[in-house]
Symmetry: C2
Subunit: 328 residues, 2 copies
């Protein structure tokens, strides 16, 4: 899979090195089971390159350094490469100052945000990062889409598998709503509103209004607004509002992101880190189960299981999408 | 109100200065409309002092400084005073390093977490802080309470009123569920499970199981776990699991907290800060409304409105609670 991604990226004008790194990220994301932001997303990334939203020659550059904080410009380069460079820099800043923060403006969709949480944890750091997005969700009390789903990632390093959450502020992604509709399934819990303003699990009804539900109703709406404001203020880049006003309004580009690393190993030491984290996870896994046959997973555990399975058996692909990629 | 709080705190053994500062925090919280963590909570704080969970002579002490990060010990002092000292220190660290982070262990309930968000914003800083709690919510897939509702606060400074969210990871607090039950009202949206395992808005049914719902279902469960792990690892203090094992298991004490400040004014400058934030808020307030008669408020706006009203008309109190405080 990686060599196929790399072939296409080199053909589109990336340097050998950048194509290799980007292909690695797309492949790891797919291997971890986040197909929507790996293999399935790859053709759209190529489309964005062709439309000029993504600059294959661009690398992120530091604008200003202020102590443990730095501001970077993404120069409209590929989002996952940009975010990886900036998390690497946040980790370096954390090694110097115990905590490090990089804000990047003018960057592009980072694909799977969780990647940068795993990256921080691999370096022994706690990772805290988020991105803003295109306006894709109504604010609480509003009907039209003016706030972003602004995914937030938190990670803690752990021997045997990091603990990682990677979650958007919308209860369901557009992709999930569409796939439930195609399969004639209800959403597992309420996910938005129908045309009468009633809350519903019916994906076809939600598609009529695109009034998707923020996590925790008013709570996720507020979180989304603050994540956007902080990313905007720290990076000096576009807010969700500004992203919605760019040319080619359906496209999502020129985003703002924040990447924070905190040197957990230095602060806590390996012993306390391992013990404190493991006793919390054991306690949670020992819960009285809702369904006796369903194991309670800690955040990140399913990813690790999928990774192992896909490394053994190969990464499953949708034939049509894979054919499309081979034809690029 | 403040002088009454102060009188009681001095009687319980606080120094004049500490009693004054704590009384100020309890009063501001009440004035801002968060009665549950101000005037209504005050008698329980006194009870915790009498039981020895809160030490009136204790002040927080720095354990270790590492660059832009410091570890503090709360020494079981009053939670709101401890948190205020630590956010002040995080702000000082932010003035030196642009970003500052303080983790505190062995502290007590900080009352209204939003206070420390407003405090950071008053100093021109972005505030990011959270606390862990007693185990009061089941993890996703579990039935018994093993994770905390771990409130998270985010704030951005703004002329004319800061933007602040202060939200627990449970959709509703115990207090809200109880008050809806007393008033024979349904919860505004689903908030937990009944004894048959169905999701419900009925507060009496939820009280039977205490299976309260995390915000965003599995998402809030994951966020809660990560907030707890990060607070535990950074502070070297108790996790939610450990808090649940302390003597007097119904009491909530010896908590772990994280307070992060980022110098927004230095990073963004007053002009960009004001403009970028205000254009986002204006856009949100201009949304097509769900209810024509209901204004869409930005996070923090309602607090400011309540504060103005209460400063004009006085802070409303429950007579029974106020009588109880006067008798202390």
């Amino acid at each position: 899979m990686k060599s196929e991604f790399k072939r296409v990226l080199v053909k589109k004008g990336f340097s050998e090195k950048m194509a290799d790194e980007a292909a690695q990220l797309f492949t790891e994301t797919s291997c971890d089971g986040v197909y929507s932001h790996g293999v399935n997303r790859f053709p759209r990334v190529i489309e964005y390159i062709d439309k000029g939203y993504i600059d294959v020659k661009a690398v992120p550059t530091k604008i200003e350094g202020m102590g443990a904080f730095e501001r970077w410009d993404g120069n409209l380069g590929l989002g996952n490469l940009n975010a990886k460079v900036c998390m690497d820099r946040a980790i370096e800043l954390a090694k110097e100052n115990t905590i490090g923060c990089v804000a990047i403006k003018n960057t592009n969709h980072w694909m799977r945000g969780g990647s940068y949480g795993w990256q921080a944890a691999d370096a022994g750091c706690i990772g805290i990062c988020w991105t803003n997005t295109h306006p894709n969700m109504p604010a609480w009390g509003g009907k039209d889409r003016r706030i972003g789903n602004n995914p937030l990632i938190l990670s803690v390093p752990r021997e045997g598998g990091h603990v990682v959450v990677d979650l958007a502020m919308a209860q369901f992604s557009y992709g999930k709503i569409e796939s439930c509709k195609l399969n004639n399934e209800s959403l597992p819990v309420v996910g938005g509103y129908d045309s009468e303003g009633n809350i519903t699990r019916d994906p076809a009804e939600i598609e009529k209004t695109w009034r998707v539900l923020p996590i925790g109703y008013w709570k996720g709406s507020g979180l989304s607004i603050l994540l956007d404001l902080i990313a905007t203020v720290l990076s000096g880049g576009n807010s969700v509002y500004k992203v919605g006003q760019l040319e080619g309004q359906d496209a999502e580009y020129q985003l703002s992101q924040v990447l924070i690393a905190i040197d957990a190993k230095k602060i806590a030491g390996d012993d306390f880190l391992g013990k404190a984290v493991n006793e919390v996870l054991s306690d949670i896994k020992d819960s009285e189960k809702v369904d006796e046959n369903k194991e309670i997973c800690y955040p990140g555990e399913r990813t690790l299981n999928t990774r192992k399975e896909n490394l053994e058996k190969g990464i499953p692909v949708n034939e049509a999408i894979w054919d499309k990629i081979k034809s690029l």
